[in-house]
């Protein structure tokens, strides 16, 4: 399991971050889901709550754990974006972890809130996908490639 940089851990624990999961179904069709409950556990594993077994995401996750396929997690706040490729590690339908996420859901959404499952993931690799970082990396690998020549940082403007 890859360890995550502190910045990513903070982002994952920040309720203001947008947390996304990208999966594919058994036919290969991609699917994107937002899961605000996604967080990092004390042991470094990622976990989030899923409400319904019948959701597209649940179905894709079952497919992924059965076939040992990876999923991608995106976490973003402002101009910062990180991407984590991860393996499904556990589908939790009972026990302390399920209880913890359920109580959180009920604290947020009221006593009738429910979840069916907590999915646990293990990161394989992580990369900073923020546009600024990607641009710098691209510039160092492929200088002069692909950027428009009229950008403010390139063109000498008349006074």
């Amino acid at each position: 399991m890859a360890s995550l940089p502190d910045e990513v851990l903070e982002l994952l624990r920040d309720p203001a971050s947008v947390k996304l999961l990208a999966t594919v179904d058994p036919d290969g069709t991609p699917h994107l889901a937002i899961r605000p409950s996604l967080t990092v556990l004390e042991n470094g594993e990622l976990a989030f709550a899923e409400e319904l077994d019948s959701s597209e995401l649940s179905q894709d996750l079952v497919h992924a754990i059965w076939r040992d396929r990876r999923v991608t997690v995106g976490v973003s706040l402002g101009a910062t974006v990180w991407q984590i490729r991860a393996r499904l590690w556990r589908c939790v339908i009972t026990g302390p972890l399920l209880k913890r996420f359920l109580l959180l859901a009920r604290a947020e959404r009221g006593p009738d809130a429910d979840i069916s499952t907590v999915w646990v993931l293990r990161a394989d690799d992580v990369r900073d996908d923020s546009p600024a970082v990607r641009r710098l990396e691209d510039a160092s690998r492929r200088p002069n490639a692909g950027s428009h020549l009229d950008r403010a940082s390139l063109v000498r403007r008349e006074a």
Partner: protein
């Protein structure tokens, strides 16, 4: 090196790539049983796992060599990483068992020396260890699956009187531990108030249960066959129902074949949502041989009729019937080939599916205490072909096992396969 010489889950998965390894492993665990190393046995005494005194492991078999002479409490159902539950009684070894060890705080599954995967056990529910207002230990009233409460309102099967029990059955043959759990009192009939209070307590634990299942031994007595049994089930279901605001609650009754009037009463007088009269064996001659009690009261056609009638009352997809898959190969009268056995299952599944009944398979274990003890089980590949065929038939009829899926029951490879629509 594995201890098994017949094709195991990995080899069968290579032959049937559409069946996930997790489900093959689950069915093979059911077939072959599970033993705990001394470290694992110690680890499951932890309050999180220490399931119940209702299943105790004595210093028998392999444990003789480990120095465990005092009884130890057994864990609950095994959980695989994909959420598949395996209803296998750890310690009740019967056929070249798998092993669970405990290392660095993790439970690890082995086949012989070969490490297979990390596993877990269903946690002990909060109501275990508590007593009803009559002083009855609640864990003697109800037991817990990962998401289901199981209750036996009546703990005796009258088919055993006169030797009419199903030939694979070992139900209620060893109630020593259950009696000890109930402080020596083990009345056949459970007090409905104890059931009400136990369920009330169980529902206090957040997210622990999503279904309640009732089953009992058969009781054909009454003015009409099974009237006593139906009266008792209604009493128990009404007691459970007092815990809920609404009319219905997610529930299943695994019972005998009832007539229309009895089924209507169960539907109208209780909050029951699904009903399951088990056909056990489809072939008419084998049904009569293997289930003499069911044949006597009131025969195969009656049990089939009951399932079909129930669809009119509970709705398509809310009526189930189980087959103990493999018993139809028991000798001397059983099928001689796996293909014949599979064809019989598929015929049964198709017949029931046409009428809105969900036909499910169970892995047969030739329990000690049953008449079939010592008979060979079919190979794992038989179960692989079986669950795929059953899933395909039910899918073609738009049937799914909502009340008997991986989450609620966990006993059926074919309903596990339905997790992907």
């Amino acid at each position: 090196m594995t201890r098994s010489h017949e094709p195991g889950p990995r080899e069968v998965a290579a032959l049937h790539p559409e069946i996930p390894l997790f489900i093959l492993l689950k069915m093979d665990l059911q077939r072959r049983g599970l033993r705990l190393t001394p470290a694992a046995l110690e680890a499951v005494q932890d309050p999180l796992y220490d399931y119940s005194r209702s299943y105790v492991i004595y210093g028998q078999g392999d444990y003789v060599h480990t120095g465990h002479t005092a009884p130890k409490n057994a864990p609950g159902p095994l959980l695989l990483r994909d959420g598949t539950s395996v209803l296998v009684l750890a310690g009740a070894e019967y056929n070249n068992s798998y092993t669970v060890d405990h290392q660095d705080g993790r439970f690890l599954l082995y086949d012989g020396d070969e490490f297979l995967d990390e596993v877990d056990f269903s946690p002990r529910p909060d109501f275990y260890g508590k007593r009803t207002s009559r002083g009855t230990p609640m864990e003697s009233i109800a037991t817990a699956r990962p998401q289901r409460i199981d209750i036996n309102p009546y703990r005796f099967c009258h088919f055993w009187e006169g030797g009419n029990q199903c030939r694979y059955c070992a139900y209620f043959t060893d109630v020593t531990a259950s009696k000890a759990l109930a402080d020596g009192k083990f009345p056949r009939q459970v007090d409905p108030e104890d059931i009400f209070e136990t369920v009330r307590e169980a529902l206090k634990e957040p997210g622990r249960f999503s279904q309640i299942m009732l089953t009992s031994g058969a009781d054909p007595r009454g003015e009409h066959t099974f009237d006593f049994e139906v009266d008792r089930q209604i009493e128990a279901l009404q007691a459970i129902g007092r815990n809920f605001q609404g009319r219905r609650f997610a529930s299943e009754l695994i019972g005998c074949g009832y007539d229309k009037r009895q089924l209507q009463r169960l539907h109208d007088e209780t909050g029951l949502t699904s009903y399951c009269p088990d056909i056990e064996v489809w072939d008419p001659k084998l049904f009569d041989w293997i289930c003499p009690g069911k044949a006597k009261y009131n025969g195969r056609d009656w049990w089939i009729r009951s399932a079909l009638d129930a669809v009119d009352i509970f709705g398509p997809g809310n009526v189930y019937t189980n087959a103990v898959a493999g018993v139809e190969l028991a000798q001397p009268h059983g099928f001689k080939t796996l293909d014949e056995a599979l064809a019989s299952h598929f015929e049964a599944c198709e017949f029931f599916a046409k009428h809105g009944v969900v036909y499910l398979s169970l892995v047969w274990i030739p329990w000690r205490g049953s008449q079939f003890h010592g008979q060979p089980q079919p190979p794992l590949e038989f179960y692989a072909r079986l669950i795929k065929g059953l899933r395909d038939i039910k899918r073609a009829y738009g049937l799914t096992s909502v009340n008997d899926d991986y989450r609620h029951c966990g006993n059926h490879g074919d309903s596990d396969l339905e997790r992907i629509a």
